[in-house]
């Protein structure tokens, strides 16, 4: 394998992570505001189908992406309305929507099965694309991949470096405090859930109009992506930069699974493709285990020097969810 093919492969990893990046950023925003949008798996499928159908019928790719975002926003609106206004379980509503939207995408999408439609192509950015190594990796992508790079930065800056971002952190951690300072907690939760949903909805067309062009129904291989994105959100500890890292790691592992297939001929290809999932559980365990009570007790019983080392390791990996995640806010 030459350096050139490896570089092109890695550039492909960046591109194939783009849809997951949008989904993870959207979910991060929503959960930062205190709302779990568990519908992600269905939303991505429905927006992939809907985005492709609109782009195909109008022959306009931009409309396809907008349709995907609209679908995501509408599904998120149902989650927000049922959980914030009607105070039903977020998990229940999200889960039902995850299944319903998936089946709806298969039902409505059957006329588009295997149809060839419009798709995005790579745009070489002049000058930058000629930089050795970096040019191939970053500057010969399609537009949606460029947008995914920008989206990571924007979301990070928004959450951690702006005043509205500070309020966003507040409504997920201590909504009562934000309320006292004059913000409308529930309205903000609606807004962030819907914006987050629109981002999740962008993930669908980012598949069906770019890296996996077309709609293939049950065999598109998209079913399950949303659940992965959900675990990456936790792996990311509700931080856009760390979440993006998780998405790239996942895409890298999947690519490695494909590349290494000829090496491990004894292992069926289907197994290598799911190799990231056990790793995902392991990382979830590492991220969460610092929160468990018995770990703290074991740590306390350790000799001073080892304890410091372990405590440092655990703290580096540990992530705690926003304190008010999934908890409805009521003025009283």
């Amino acid at each position: 394998m030459t350096v050139e093919t490896i570089l092109i492969g890695l550039a492909g990893v960046l591109a194939s992570a783009a849809p997951i990046i949008f989904a993870v950023l959207g979910e991060t925003l929503s959960e930062r505001a205190g709302v779990i949008n568990l519908s992600m798996n269905g939303t991505i499928l429905l927006s992939a189908m809907g985005g492709f159908a609109v782009a195909y019928n109008t022959d306009n790719i931009v409309l396809g992406f907008l349709a995907g975002m609209l679908i995501g926003a509408l599904v998120a609106l149902i989650v927000a309305f049922t959980s914030i206004t009607l105070k039903q379980s977020q998990v229940a509503v999200g889960f039902v929507l995850a299944l319903t939207c998936r089946d709806l995408s298969y039902f409505l999408g059957s006329p588009y099965m295997g149809v060839t439609g419009p798709r995005l192509h790579a745009i070489q950015i002049p000058i930058l694309s000629d930089i050795p190594i970096l040019g191939v990796l970053f500057f010969r992508q399609d537009i949606i991949t460029y947008i995914s790079f920008i989206a990571i930065v924007l979301t990070w800056v928004w959450i951690f470096r702006t005043r509205p971002g500070l309020i966003l952190q507040g409504i997920g951690e201590k909504p009562a405090a934000v309320f006292i300072r004059g913000s409308n907690v529930n309205l903000l939760r609606y807004i962030y859930t819907i914006i987050g949903g629109a981002l999740i909805g962008l993930a669908g067309p980012a598949f069906s109009l770019a890296i996996r062009a077309g709609w293939m129904g049950t065999i598109s291989g998209l079913d399950g992506i949303g659940w992965i994105a959900l675990s990456i959100t936790i792996f990311g500890g509700w931080n856009p930069a760390r979440a993006a890292f998780g998405a790239y790691l996942f895409a890298l592992l999947q690519w490695l699974g494909l590349v290494l297939q000829p090496v491990f001929t004894a292992v069926p290809s289907q197994v290598l493709q799911v190799a990231p999932f056990p790793l995902m559980i392991l990382t979830l365990l590492l991220v969460n285990i610092g929160n468990a009570e018995w770990v703290e007790r074991t740590l306390a019983a350790m000799p001073e020097s080892t304890r410091k080392l372990f405590a440092k390791l655990l703290r580096a990996m540990r992530a705690s969810p926003p304190a008010a995640l999934g908890v409805p806010f009521e003025r009283d």
């Binding site: 319903t100 089946d103 659940w227 675990s231 197994v271 285990i289």
Partner: protein
């Protein structure tokens, strides 16, 4: 009138009407006649003895899974990993059958061992999610989802690896077992009275555990208020694990029956989504065991009834999933609206 049992029943009817209304609009939007679709689904599920037997084949695993989930929901757990627990039940049953393939033991004994093995496999897999939850701090939803993917990978690995058919391995599964390894079926029908009996027995047992035992009361106490139950001296983490084990065993039984009475081999999609569908049934019946049988039967009938849709009307059979999902969604919405309305009134 809007209070109490009758009121809640009226609201459920409203939810049912809304769900059918929305699905009818979806059907009209794709140029299909809603009435024809519903009629075909009805005839396709109860139109003949053979079709109704198919409904029962689908009803058995769904009821078993729902019964198990009633326990985990009662203890406040979202056991989304139930799908993988079905799969591990099926894998374990297949393993037992393979182990005894050349033995001279009576088939009835082997089948019993295989089903018990399936229950054990499902319970052990569920305990993984339980251990991750109680000792690793991993939310059962995410641990369970990850384990579901792992279980699917394990199935595919076994079918294409160690347990592959002689010659070429394929997605059609492992070599079918001899007829003697099959749960006895009714003549000319695919349903076995044994599997139906196991499923009905399971829901009755769960009903009594939850309604009439101290154990069930403790499970519910843990679910209602974890902290209070702990302070009252209930070993909460143990009861969480018990409920995972019971649910896993019942999901494992569902997987075992899929192997021993339906497919007679291990196939890649052995769980057929019954785990997720069971979660929907449990939500729809608001975790009341008494309603499990009729609602699971209704969902099974929708599943079977929709199989004919692609042939008769060129509609995708996923319509049943859309209808089931919309129904649960509207029940949640209408229930929320009722609570809000009653509070104001």
């Amino acid at each position: 009138m809007l209070k109490g049992r009758l009121g809640s029943f009226i609201f459920q009817l409203i939810a049912l009407a809304l769900a059918f209304g929305v699905v009818s609009l979806i059907l009209i939007s794709v140029g299909a006649s809603p009435l024809d679709a519903y009629k075909n689904m009805f005839v396709g599920s109860v139109g003949s003895v053979r079709k109704f037997a198919e409904v029962l084949v689908s009803f058995v695993p769904l009821l078993l899974v729902t019964a198990g989930l009633l326990i985990t929901f009662s203890s406040g757990l979202w056991n989304i990993g139930v799908e993988g627990q079905i799969v591990l039940g099926a894998i374990s049953t297949t393993w037992v059958f393979r182990y005894f393939i050349d033995s001279t033991l009576p088939p009835a004994l082997i089948i019993s061992l295989a089903i018990l093995g399936g229950m054990l496999g499902g319970a052990l897999w569920a305990s993984l999610a339980g251990i991750l939850k109680t000792f690793g701090g991993v939310n059962e939803i995410f641990g369970g989802l990850g384990l579901n993917f792992v279980s699917t990978a394990l199935t595919i690995y076994l079918i294409f690896g160690p347990w592959k058919r002689p010659g070429v391995a394929s997605m059609s599964g492992t070599v079918p077992f001899p007829d003697s390894f099959s749960l006895p079926q009714l003549p000319d029908l695919r349903i076995s009275m044994w599997s139906l009996g196991i499923a009905l027995l399971a829901i009755v047992i769960i009903y009594f555990i939850l309604q009439g035992t101290y154990f069930g009361l403790k499970i519910k106490a843990v679910g209602k208020n974890f902290r209070a139950a702990y302070l009252l001296g209930i070993p909460t983490w143990q009861y969480s694990l018990y409920s995972f084990l019971i649910c896993g065993a019942l999901a494992g039984a569902a997987g075992a029956i899929q192997v021993a009475a339906v497919y007679h081999r291990l196939i890649p999609s052995i769980s057929s989504g019954y785990g997720y569908l069971g979660l929907m049934v449990a939500m729809l019946i608001n975790y009341q065991a008494i309603w499990a049988v009729p609602v699971a039967l209704f969902f099974a009938a929708l599943n079977i009834g929709s199989i004919q849709l692609p042939i008769l009307m060129k509609l995708d059979s996923s319509l049943s999933g859309v209808l089931q999902g919309t129904l649960v969604l509207f029940v949640l919405i209408v229930e929320g609206a009722r609570q809000k309305f009653m509070k104001k009134a």
